[in-house]
Symmetry: C2
Subunit: 271 residues, 2 copies
């Protein structure tokens, strides 16, 4: 196989298999090329991924070594992604009765969701994560996108048990804003004991739902290694039950009468 | 930029922007290269994508023309993907009380879900689809994966209305297996009138849920261009309310006492 062909195939391979350690002999056999040629290919791809701001190829030495793609979005790319989102979200036609903001279209669009997933993944580049955990419904595509970038499964907490989940663990918690008692349910076999998890949701107001997910993770003896929300509401900041989280955007003001939405960048960008 | 670098960057670009028509001048400017060089790059990538069985680059002539990546999984790759799934699903430890089969882990794993998404997308390579539609909860990662491969948004039907969705359209329908009346709800602004949709779900028994989704799509004047389910139950085939669907796998027998699961390939492979 020619170098030009190998570069196409190997670029595809690394993008499809993030964080997977593959040995050089694997590539030597797969593409029928000398080890030295494969090493050069890897250098070219690594250089280019770094220039493009999408991560790097990391080489692990030794017998069990190899090379793996570590996705990492450059901070410039993260800024661009979030600025685009803010532009879309400040459209006053998104205002719903009660001062809510319609976001479902963005949360379902792979173009945006995948980029948001890359931003979150870049925040956990150096953390070992076994599962991305979310609660039904709207945050699921986002959680899946993050899971895809870092190459781990997504685990979905439900509001109601289902027969196709087998035995479950459930907790009751108090929703932060409505003060109502709510339930969360998760299949027992969905998470292994002692796993490291990243919790994600689309929106956080008082933080009750995130707090509930943290409690549920305790039941699984899972270590919460990070919490991410796409958007947070600014006005609830003081009473918030959860403090150690990353947000990409912050709703500063939603005015139904004046028909204005004011959105700023979240705390991901302030550190 | 050197050819080797352009190949890495352009391969990444096409994979990240499926079905997006991009003009040659775009690449000429982006990568600071002659039009003839870009054309050669495109030929190399196109050849290689076809050899790899992941689709092709299609050139559209004319002033509004350009080149676009059309994802299409080769039938060999589809067979391999589904055989791997069958292997995983026939593990008897998946049997749940009542003869159900635990699939949530596979439905949450990007590695499998992305490949399943590619198989479904290949079935609709020549059909114009505007949205991938599913109903909460378990099918969402799958729907998102398909949506990502074909580059359109995913739309999530809910079981209960939510204030963050704005005004909604809801229908009541009778579940095929339990004969209970159920509700489906979808935000009015989630689908434009006259759109083409692909309906997807993780599992179909009697077909009541899929039938419900079809009815709901009628309320939006949407054209159902295809229906896909990952798995179908074999025993319900005769009474099924829905006939025009694609399935990737079929549960032939789940025996709680003997602790055996028998899975075969679905109708996707029989045409």
């Amino acid at each position: 196989m020619k170098r030009s062909e190998r570069l196409v195939a190997m670029t595809h391979y690394f993008l499809e298999n993030p964080k997977t350690l593959s040995s050089l002999p694997y590539f030597v056999e797969e593409y029928d090329a000398a080890k030295s040629s494969i090493s050069e290919d890897i250098d070219i791809i690594d250089d280019m991924f770094q220039k493009m701001g999408i991560g790097e190829l990391r080489t692990v030495a030794g017998a069990a070594g190899g090379v793996q793609y570590i996705p990492d979005l450059s901070i410039e790319r993260a800024h661009t992604t979030v600025e685009k989102l803010i532009d879309l979200l400040e459209d006053p036609s998104r205002i719903l009765p009660g001062g809510y903001v319609y976001m479902s279209d963005l949360l379902g669009h792979p173009k945006y969701v995948h980029e948001i997933g890359q931003v979150f993944a870049s925040a956990f580049e150096h953390t070992e994560i076994d599962y991305v955990v979310t609660v039904a419904t709207k945050g699921i595509p986002l959680a899946y996108a993050i899971a895809q970038v870092i190459g781990v499964p997504v685990v979905i907490i439900r509001r109601d048990p289902k027969v196709t989940e087998g035995s479950t663990v459930s907790i009751n918690y108090v929703s932060g804003s409505s003060r109502k008692i709510q339930t969360m349910v998760l299949a027992k076999r969905s998470i292994e004991e002692g796993s490291n998890v990243f919790i994600v949701d689309d929106f956080m107001k008082a933080g009750g739902t995130i707090q509930g997910m943290k409690s549920l993770m305790r039941e699984f003896n899972a270590n919460v290694k990070g919490i991410g929300v796409l958007a947070e509401a600014e006005d609830e900041e003081e009473d918030r039950k959860v403090q150690d989280y990353i947000s990409l955007i912050k709703f500063m003001e939603v005015d139904e009468t004046k028909e204005t939405i004011k959105v700023e960048k979240g705390n991901f960008f302030s550190s």
